[in-house]
Symmetry: D3
Subunit: 285 residues, 6 copies
């Protein structure tokens, strides 16, 4: 694995490993390989916490997320674990009350996964092996998606009798270029391949192995970590804002955002370095 | 033709045939082949009614729509018929009053075609032959688009001196991955091919003949009809909601939607079948 | 160059040439080739004025925009010129006051470039050579994008320590079919090629040279100029409206728009010409 | 009662009387006084149909709606009737399936009452006596509200264990000037008086008796019926549009709306009559 | 009149007087009293230019706008002048083309009046005498409305056969607390009094004479001009933003806005002055 | 004080007291009376936590919030404490970096106060004495506002050189009926009285003393606590949703919400109790 240095600040997570393969780059690994990295509630709460911590950590400028082991990015929800906590199968109780419990449960789950999207640093997601159900929800929250050539993708929820509710249906159609394809894979729950994912624009790189994909992601993250954090984080923010707003709204927001940002040193340093053809070193943000 | 069983409940339509090629699948055929399936007001009102009926029919879980005959899915509006009712060419009368008549006329037409999008069951549209003008408006209301390899597509309205007003301009840019291409075909009214439609993501399958395309559509519809109707219809609803809302809005709506949906039997049945590797049979919805 | 006739009404611009390569077609050339067509404030203000003038000029029905010279569409902001006016580098002064100055400055710049999008006539942008930074902001405001095969594209702003603020981040994700790709090029500031631009749908034609691209653009503009101006301008308006509205909103707006538009002569003329297979000649708009 | 002439075109409704107290004015009376004008499904479907018919009837320019009899505008839903059709109390069946039935049921009910708001002619609602539950939902769909001094108002739904779902919660906060008051009456389900309704702006006139209130409403409707239908209907449309849009959106929509409207004869006639101090007579719309 | 000092920078306007009754306060007077301050195109273009100039003028911190003379704030559009330019009465020409001309004409007019709302400094509008039609459109663009006790208000447009299109219908319902009242005055075009305007919240002060109202406005403007321009202009911006956005949107925008604003000196100066009970003097903005 | 029983579950807060004056009612007291209940960061974080806890506590159905002591609800931010943590006055450091710190700081503060609005149970806010600055931000997050007759209100932020950023500018205009009044008090920072607050609809009850106001609030909360929690919490949710959505959006959301809610026992129990004139007892939610 590329990762070499560990991040002591992230040592306490039980199901997630955070290492630092290069300066200012964090590598987050979902670490339940023996369970195909399936998610328990404990894991998704940790996942949310990790990304809130990374968002505020000035020693991190770019993040790579991947699944530990060879077999899966993640096979999705750990159904056995979920059964145990009664949320899914508890048939007792008042329907209105259960509706409230379910609503709050889905919200907690959505918020935990969505923390990756809210993280102010760019996130590159590496998919490999089994990448179904929740794997797609997670990947949709990343900024850039890269995969191994043998990845098996599926929006699997219809096959367990439910509509996907952790974000795939909200985000996937806004990430790719064919709604006909989106509806096909979401309604049929069929597998799709790395090549298909590339051709519709879901991923932007396919590599021959998981290892190669992780290396490419780390290299890309390293490139981002060398650039102005003010510029990189502002670009992420403005792109995400633009997805959910009109062009006019986004233009106005951009004015107000940059009114502070370009008064920072990164802009004058970046501009000067460009003119002088030197390589700038930016301060932490 | 694949269709074998008829649907007595849909026998009264004059310009539309509804048959049932497989259980829970309805096949809707626009049936004015001698007029290239051009639309009269009578036809579009029937079209709206059919899809409202299908939406509420628990014996239908997936719909295929196609045009009868070999020559055309539809050549669009039946201009001769439209001329007769005075809406298009009546030059008399007060401009403000005519504006009101036209507005209400377009609204009725939009609502009739849009009933296909509002139909709670997934709709697969099969295009072949001449598929111009209104054909694109209709196709844009489907969930999945499939076509024959010789299909001749065009957003034709500019060539009759008007901006398309039954939905193509509203929906097409949200279905495909290149606005430059959308504007090209909408402004020039030029023909485009099945291959071009596939490469921009407008259709997701191209078959060598109309017959092969209909067969593929029926097979796909049959797959959908085997799945949980709660999951399939919920997925369609949440995807359509997402097109017109921010991610945050859609996530909240999803919480509230699934708070009732996952209390139904389909979810526990689907989940159990997944664990036990059995094939579930879902109740009508 | 294809352009032959000049437009006297546009003779006073210093940095922009406007000619008329065919009837009702205007060709706008950014004309600072010795500076790689880099933009000074004088140039962007002229750019805004040109497009406001074209928007209201009934002798213009379609516009081609390109950069003069062989080397660049534009290399972006003229940094030396910008340095001189103190906006970028003035380190003195109250932060809140500077924030206001910067906000208003960005707004003026956005409005000038955005005038191309607001222009009621369709605009075809021809990119060639160096097409970085502001070049992308500008291209995103066009309706159709065409490029030469050797074009060097880049969303370059991150490399000068800032998030792009003249429109690329607002518009690019809505023009193409892969958000993963958009974030890659916007966050890394890397170059991308004409072929890549075509494959993601950013441009819809690639030609072997700038000259061939301009010829193709003029031919396309000529085609548009032959069509009903009511239909063409309405189509542009309704497509642009649709980008920033829900489908339901756009459908209603379309009703109200066409309630006046189809009462004009273009519609009856277009319809009749279609029936009679004659070529219509439309009046000025 | 003020009403004198009957409207033959509206004679077939069973639970609603439509008369014409003055030219171009329609008076709609909810007519189940022996049941306190409580609503059955038959009644609300008729209610929706009446207003769709009035909307398209060029002999109607303004509408007054009131409840027959002395005791109530309406006491709300006819609970006994509702119990009979199984929607409310049917405890059998799958929860997800029942959710779908309930959703569609509420939608039908909302659409029927909302037809009054969608009616293109202004509607004046006269409230008296018992005006609780559905009475508020209905009143909120009117343009102008007038009441008798002894009217007993209440947003009553919380007292039957549910949140109001036919429109009060959507519309009431947008009609009056104190959210603290809105939440007080909606959460407590307490009665409020005509005077209180006037002071918060819910009604704009209070009269000493139902008869006086109806007379005032008819007089007001007669005033509206004398004015330009193009102006009156346009004003209603633009005000309703404005409620759900930003100011900028509404201004643009207004441009497009009036681009046809002021080309009609009403505008030149109205303008000339104003200059000449004559009373214009407008054509039907 | 309170105004004493003149503003040389504003001396060139023909129909508008700008004076300075106290430091940092501008008093804008609509100055066609012999025509009841009716608006020609020349006047409304000047009106727009004045407010754009005031918005960028660091010597102005608060603005009072009133009408010259005793009889009218403004009687609205100068119909005779408008007739002359052919826009209103020109009956010739293609309907679609005229629709475009009218659309652009209304947009220019809306933009000119709306410049008062966009002005970054707070504007206090003083109404007196005849204040009908356009007077309401203008008043709605102000931040604070004050009037003389004898003011005669009316939303007059329906009486000339048209729906108001310069902003009253867009803004008035968002300024006051009773939609029933808004629709009453907009649909009937009836007069309403200063007292009625106060009771529905349209104005927030009524004074016995125009002179007293102007004095009160100048006093209020002087109060505002003593305060931090960063705080005052930010408050106006955030309140106006909030009108057209959700609470969540406005809260986020506020974060970004204040991230620059509170780094300015006004905040530390204001905070210190508050602690030390001294009166701060703020720098120009 | 009315409060009698304590809530052990809330015993650990340092600056906030939570007691239970009647069953299912919680009384939250801001408890720094010696500092006029001014807010430190510790206090606002506790404030957020309390309301998150109350939101999920099935033993709480309605909440009263007030300030401890006789002198103040709250005098706003504790400026001395804020100075200490360096956020407000730290003049060192990069402007872009400080902008990020400030943004995140305001967001944390907004989220903490906004937790009261997000609390699923209705909240009644009792204001008395000094109620300025943050007091208004907090009050705007409550559902119902009640005050003592001597309350001194002010939107005070302009007087410390900043635009209010914790929610007053976002929410106040949507709570009351006169924008002219809102801008007056927000721009001038002047005091306003209980009577003025009542007349514009900011509060809905004024009582002669703080004690009387708290008693009235507890009585009102007790009334709410007796009602169906499904109905009460649903009503709060749908009203809050409606504030930020169009009527059509809210109606659809209501359908989906009630599709689960009316399947609960509260609805059948409430309906039956209404028919039988008995008093229902609802289960915890």
């Amino acid at each position: 694995m590329t990762s070499t240095a560990s991040f002591p600040a992230y040592a306490s997570y039980k199901n997630i490993i955070v290492s630092s393969p290069s300066p200012f780059v964090a590598h987050v690994e979902i670490n339940r390989p023996q369970k195909l990295n399936a998610f328990t509630q404990e894991l998704w709460l940790e996942f949310g916490h990790v990304f809130k911590q990374l968002s505020g950590d000035e020693n991190v400028r770019a993040v790579v997320v991947s699944g530990a082991g060879d077999r899966a990015f993640t096979a999705g929800l750990d159904v056995q674990s979920a059964s145990g906590d009664g949320i899914l199968f508890g048939s007792q109780g008042d329907i209105a009350k259960k509706a409230k419990v379910i609503r709050n449960h889905i919200e907690e789950f959505q918020d935990s996964i969505g923390a990756m999207e809210k993280c102010e640093k760019p996130v590159i997601c590496v998919l490999h092996g089994i990448s179904i159900g929740l794997a797609i929800d997670i990947a949709c929250c990343a900024d850039i998606r890269i995969c191994a050539s043998k990845t098996r993708f599926a929006v699997k929820e219809v096959d367990i009798g439910m509509a996907a509710d952790i974000g795939t249906l909200a985000r996937l159609p806004k990430l790719v270029g064919s709604t006909s394809w989106v509806k096909d894979v979401c309604l049929t729950a069929r597998d799709f391949s790395a090549q298909e994912a590339l051709s519709v624009g879901f991923v932007s790189q396919v590599h021959e192995s998981k290892q190669a994909a992780v290396q490419a992601a780390v290299a890309l993250a390293t490139t981002l970590a060398d650039k102005s954090p003010v510029a990189v984080q502002g670009t992420k923010e403005l792109l995400n804002h633009g997805r959910d707003h009109t062009v006019a709204e986004n233009l106005r927001y951009t004015q107000v955002w940059n009114a502070a940002a370009v008064q920072g040193k990164d802009f004058s340093l970046g501009l000067m370095s460009g003119l002088k053809k030197t390589k700038p070193r930016f301060e932490k943000l």
